[in-house]
């Protein structure tokens, strides 16, 4: 049973990290990007490629994977968000990020192959350590560190305060002289790096798999919607709860119904508390 809980927390940590990446992008742009899960997928696939194909040490592969993720995040903003936000149609960003996500996923599928490939060991540790194995605690530790770092960033740095200002009111922020376009690009790059970091840390759990992105986009979003949109604590709690729910239900009724269970939980929460557990109740815009 302990094994089930640890596995659930590790998977949940990955979901929570994806939800954090959603939050970072959402804070400056009010956009929920379909590419969020694909950023983590890129971190895993490129990390595996750098280490196994190019033979780089993990200490070099990690920053390289982060750069790839940050670049992908920045590119999301340049290609799919910037032009689209100028128009007032609210559905367009959904279409453009969906298109970009499809391109990224299929492109990686063509280049990397559609079979999951093993992710290399990052730390020297033999395979007999059971639930103390690095593939479980690495993603959990990374996600907790990530959330703490984000909290520090928002509270202690000027850039973090700019993010908060933009999430409160973009127009007012712009009127006060904040370069909103540049801040948004930065936030997307940061989200990309965070996503890639999560994908890299959880690589041994998920394998380097091109279709991981879509699963993470969905499950990260469920974690976010359950925890409450915009709340980092909610993202952590939602992710952990979803991961635990997944593994425990798989243990009890079989792993075939994983998506059914998580989406059922989402629907239940949304019916009971539409803004999520830690979310702020939004005034309905008219």
């Amino acid at each position: 049973m302990l094994g089930v809980i640890v596995t659930g927390l590790a998977i949940g940590a990955l979901y929570a990290a994806t939800a954090l990446a959603y939050n970072v992008m959402y804070s400056t742009s009010k956009v929920l990007s379909v590419t969020t899960g694909h950023l983590a997928m890129l971190g895993g696939v490129f990390g595996a490629w750098f280490v196994t194909a190019l033979g780089w040490p993990p200490l070099l592969a990690l920053p390289a994977a982060l750069v790839v993720g940050a670049f992908a995040g920045w590119l999301t903003d340049v290609i799919a968000i910037r032009r689209v936000l100028k128009r007032s149609d609210e559905h367009l960003w959904l279409l453009s990020t969906l298109a970009l996500a499809t391109i990224v996923q299929q492109g990686v599928g063509l280049w990397w192959g559609t079979e999951p490939k093993p992710f290399p060991r990052l730390l020297p540790q033999d395979f007999s350590s059971g639930i103390a194995d690095q593939k479980y605690w690495l993603p959990i530790a990374t996600t907790v560190l990530m959330a703490l770092a984000l909290e520090l960033f928002y509270r202690r740095t000027l850039y973090g305060k700019l993010f908060i200002a933009m999430s409160e009111d973009t127009f007012a922020a712009r009127a006060r002289g904040i370069e909103t376009d540049r801040i948004r690009s930065t936030s997307f790059a940061i989200a990309g790096a965070l996503g890639a970091l999560a994908g890299f840390a959880a690589g041994q759990l998920t394998f380097a798999f091109f279709a991981l992105g879509l699963t993470l986009t969905l499950n990260g979003f469920i974690a976010l919607a359950v925890g409450g949109l915009g709340s980092n604590v909610g993202a952590l709690v939602g992710g952990a709860a979803l991961g635990l729910l997944n593994t425990i239900s798989a243990n009890l009724i079989g792993g075939e119904y994983q998506n059914t269970v998580s989406v059922g939980a989402l629907m239940l929460i949304l019916l009971l508390k539409p803004e999520g557990i830690f979310g702020a109740r939004n005034v309905r815009p008219v």
Binding site: I103, A225, N259
Partner: protein, 322 residues
Amino acid sequence: MLGLLATLPWWAGDQYQIHLAALIAVYWILVAGLNLVVGFTGQLSIGHVGLLAIGAYAFAILAGRYEWSPWIALLASGSIGGVCGLLLGLPSLRLPGFYFAMATMAFALIVAEITLALGDLTGGGVGLAVPGFSAPFDSPAGFYLLLLGIAALITWFTWNVARFPWGRALVAIRDNPVAAESVGVPVFRMKLAVFVLSGITAGVAGALFASLQSYITPDTFVFELGLFFFVCIIIGGRSSIVGPLVGTAVLTALPELVAPLAKLGNLFYGVLLLAVVLLVPEGIGRLFEVLLARLRPERAASHVLEPDTERLAAAIRKGRDA
């Protein structure tokens, strides 16, 4: 146009072209219904492949295992698709844009999961053989004509829906739900009705699709197929019927006719969707309209109003007398 399409079996080069045309007709039956949801009402459903799969499996199980008449099984598939559309739409249509899209995507994944899990009923990963229709629809040409007839019927139906106040109400919901509600459009009920309708067409399309392919597995109904239907509509253009029709035909046929595109597969659809969203968000159909308007500038029609002096004089006279 329809007549020309109906004679296709007699001038098509080979059986494969007839199969391709039949496939386009099947896809169009689904896309026509989905078009009312996506193109008119603006609800971005990317998971209709789930409803297609439900229709296909319902038909395969009813007509194959229980040996129902294909016609009754076809009707049953449509009804099951409609019921599933209702069950999916009831919770998810209350959600805002991104939430709704995610809910439909999750639905497609759930259906794929369940078809794999319920191996006794659906054959699991091995799949199911699907019976065909009885004569005269048992040959490729005959089946194609049947599909063409159903597709034409559904096109005519959606065209009628779109043309009348119904369609206007749908467009109003898409463009501004609050304003639509304020003028008395029952927003949720309209969305739900249209969604159930799209479920019915998806169920019917699924049954016909299964019969056309004659063997189905869960791998037939990948999520990317749902994305493909969605792309057909967005590329064709919103609140148009001809646009998505052309989009479906071109996008189905193009990868089959141009071999390098088939290798790129869904990457190609992704690039196309991105290009259309960024360059012509109204869809390619709109592009043609603009070009046509450039080429043939319409003269402003001049209206000359002639006062009806006799009636006016009579009215004044009547007023004076009274």
